[in-house]
Amino acid sequence: MTLNEVRVGETVKVLKINGEGATKRRLMDMGLVKNVEVYVRKVAPLGDPIEVKIRGYELSLRKADAAMIEVI
């Protein structure tokens, strides 16, 4: 499963970040690394981006980028 498919209100664990370059690095810099817990908090009113809670703070990312993150 990838992060964009997770339902609002669920908590998942990161398995792997796919892709490369700036977006991957940025996601990881923000703390989205292997084994971290991610709580999917909400979807923006227009359907994209999503808001997640990670390491005690709120992060928003687009569904397209969330699709790079494999979770369980």
Partner: protein
């Protein structure tokens, strides 16, 4: 002593900077870019200089702010670094600290938000944290001005202890590169970057090709072993380490129940309420800055302060000392009018920035981007571009300046280039004049002008985002949504004042000089072969008219290739409503009404509805007034980008007006000529630019800032 302030966005870095420097600060831009640079002197010891580096989450080469921050440290070698971290969000904040530690510059970690920690009932064991990190830490609350022992610690700051906590084989690889580096201050940082094959550091430090080859071999072996690329391995290991470090430092820790910020957010960006709340907030911002307070204050400065107080006072003074008429005119219509053009915008800018500062400080600005991203990203803009566009319906100057709330430079530049396509209030008289003179005051002319502006933004966004300068800098939208805070009055007022003042300083010169130049061009000319100053209604003899006659041919394909339209357009650069005033003067009416209804009949004889609409379209879309150009220059902070923006606007306006005139003539009057073919070609080119796929190789992100 030089101290650099490093920290995440929203960590309270600017608040700390303000607390340390008081009013001894200088605000400018980093050379050639739109990123703000702040420096100042420590208020209790003027020998200490403090530089506020851009807020960053990492020291990678992927964003402009990160490159600026790390280049500053490597090139300018500050004596010490204060790394400010948000005490309520230690994990992510310390990730940056780990990279800063690698630089090996003496540092102190300032753990901010002591007040929030107290309120939450959390307590951090500082001694344990210092031991774990190998760096001295100081607990502060920048908002409450509690700076603890921070400045004592920083004066005797030491290089961070090298703990080498990464896995043994990674440390070994780093060590192998380190010993071959000539730069001995930032060894560990540079060695890691060389291992990560960071092109900017490799070029900057002139790394030996042999070392690069060795680094590639080492990182390839590690990548194989850990089944990931080297950057990701190091990032993961750092976070692992930080999780361990922060795991046992809390003496007491709050339960994870919902904070007030969470509760606010549940309402504010709730799926149903988010859009109504957004509309309400935006309406309020618009109402205060454009409809009421801002515009009233600006009108007061223009009409009362300059119109009724300063100008008459200066005039009566000049008359009393028997000043020669041309000098009187220069001082009144050139200098005083030029100053008025600058200062007239200041109240509105101050009001707008007061509101924007509140939105930023309280945390709602990030939510605006969150809500609007979906719409705006399609056109290469940021969700935060919404505010400049909205303010642009009132005045382009504060609108352009509002673009600085957008964090990505690419989005910021794009917003600056396209915002003034929205008709501002000064363009309304032009719309009213054309609608009245040529369209029998038809209701649809004004809405069509706004529609044209919006389409121009969308089309430009799509075209521009595929061009080279915009392609190189694809920045991911991965954004922190900071916790809500109650804005602090001093921070809001300071931010408002700084931005207003920087407009006066940076945009003032260009506005002033161009106003004086236009005064010269319209008030002097040749009458019967004699050069002299002109009366108001002698504009046809002016230098401006001479220039107008010389260049008016370029407007022939647009349907208004005469000197009158050219001069009026030129005068529109001083202030767009001057276009109407100028037409009045040309037709012999010195004091026409705002829409020029006195001369609608005369105007109708020299235009067809089609060429009239082309004139309207051209003047709505072409270069904005000098004040807005000054604002563009201030925000772009780069002559090339300023010229590119204004040049693009003029070219785009020309293309649109050409198509309106030619296709209008073709479909309404059935006329077909050479320029109709040109218009077809322009249309095809525009369609091509809209649909083309950019070259794949130029999508590469690394190295985009060279």
């Amino acid at each position: 002593m030089k101290i650099a302030l490093v920290g995440n966005p929203n960590s309270g870095k600017t608040t700390l900077f303000n607390a340390l420097t008081g009013s001894n600060q200088y605000v400018g831009n980093w050379p050639g870019v739109t990123v703000e640079k702040k420096s100042g002197k420590y208020k209790n010891d003027k020998k200490i200089e403090i530089i506020d580096l851009p807020g960053v989450y990492s020291l990678s080469p992927y964003s402009l702010e990160e490159v600026i921050a790390r280049n500053y440290i490597i090139d300018e070698r500050p004596d010490a670094i204060i790394n400010i971290v948000d005490g309520t969000n230690l994990e992510r904040n310390l990730y940056l600290s780990e990279q800063v530690k690698d630089l090996g510059v003496p540092m102190v970690i300032a753990i901010n938000m002591a007040d929030s920690l107290r309120a939450r009932g959390e307590e951090i064991d500082l001694k344990k944290l210092e031991k774990n990190l190998g760096v001295k830490c100081s607990l502060i609350s920048a908002v409450k001005n509690e700076l603890g022992d921070l400045m004592e610690l920083i004066k005797k700051a030491e290089r961070p202890q090298e703990l080498n906590y990464l896995d043994a084989d990674i440390e070994e690889a780093i060590a192998k590169i380190e010993v071959q580096l000539s730069n001995d201050t930032f060894k560990r940082f540079i060695a890691i970057k060389v291992l990560e094959n960071d092109p900017k550091i490799i070029e900057k430090e002139k790394i030996d090709p042999k070392v690069i080859t060795q680094a590639k071999e080492l990182s390839l072996a590690l990548a194989k072993k850990y089944d990931d690329d080297i950057e990701s391995i190091i990032t993961s290991k750092r976070y692992e380490y930080i999780t361990k470090v922060t795991g046992n430092i809390y003496i007491s820790k709050s339960s994870t129940k919902e904070s007030i910020s969470d509760k606010i957010d549940k309402i504010v960006t709730n799926r149903i309420l988010a859009l109504p709340i957004f509309v309400a907030v935006m309406t309020l911002v618009y109402y205060i800055s454009v409809t009421t307070v801002g515009t009233m204050a600006t009108d007061w400065v223009n009409d009362v302060l300059f119109g009724e107080i300063i100008s008459p006072a200066v005039e009566s003074f000049l008359v009393s000392i028997n000043c020669v008429p041309w000098l009187q005119s220069l001082i009144l219509d050139g200098v005083v009018a030029g100053l008025g053009a600058i200062l007239g915008f200041v109240p509105q800018i101050l009001v707008l920035f007061f509101l924007l500062a509140i939105l930023e400080e309280c945390g709602y600005m990030a939510r605006i981007a969150f809500i609007m991203d979906r719409i705006f990203r399609k056109f290469g803009l940021s969700g935060k571009s919404f505010i400049p566009m909205l303010i642009g319906t009132g005045c382009g100057v504060p609108a352009i300046m509002a673009s600085r709330t957008i964090e990505n430079e690419r989005d910021r530049r794009m917003t600056i280039m396209t915002t003034t396509f929205i008709p501002c209030s000064a363009k309304l008289p032009i719309i009213a004049m054309i609608a009245g003179a040529l369209f029998n005051e038809a209701w649809w002319v004004a809405p069509s002008a706004y529609f044209l502006g919006v389409v121009a933004i969308i089309v430009s966004g799509i075209i521009l985002k595929k061009t080279k300068p915009f392609l190189g800098e694809v920045a991911p939208f991965v954004m922190e949504l900071p916790a809500y805070h109650i804005p602090k009055a001093t921070a809001v007022l300071r931010s408002m004042w700084e931005r207003g003042w920087s407009f006066i300083k940076k945009a003032g010169t260009i506005i002033f000089l161009s106003t004086v130049l236009i005064w010269l061009l319209t008030n002097f000319g040749f009458v019967d072969g004699q050069f002299r100053m002109l009366d108001t209604l002698e504009i046809e003899y002016s230098l401006a008219a001479i220039i107008g006659r010389a260049i008016s041919f370029i407007f022939i394909p647009l349907g208004f290739g005469n000197w009158q339209a050219t001069v009026a357009t030129l005068m529109g650069l001083v202030a767009k409503e001057n276009l109407v005033v100028t037409y009045g003067i040309i037709y012999g009416i010195a004091e026409a009404s705002e829409e020029g209804s006195e001369f609608w009949g005369t105007l109708a004889t020299s235009f067809t509805p089609v060429s009239g609409y082309a004139l309207l379209a051209f003047n709505l879309l072409c270069a904005p007034c000098f004040a807005a150009i000054g604002a563009i220059k201030r925000e772009m902070n780069n002559a090339k980008w300023t010229l590119a923006a204004v040049g693009y606007q003029c070219l785009f306006a020309y293309a649109v007006a050409l198509m309106i005139n030619q296709f209008g003539n073709l479909f309404i009057y059935g006329s077909f000529d050479f320029f109709t073919i040109v218009a077809v070609i322009v249309l095809l080119m525009m369609v091509y630019l809209l649909v083309r796929k950019p070259k794949a190789h130029s999508l590469k992100v690394v190295g985009a800032y060279e």
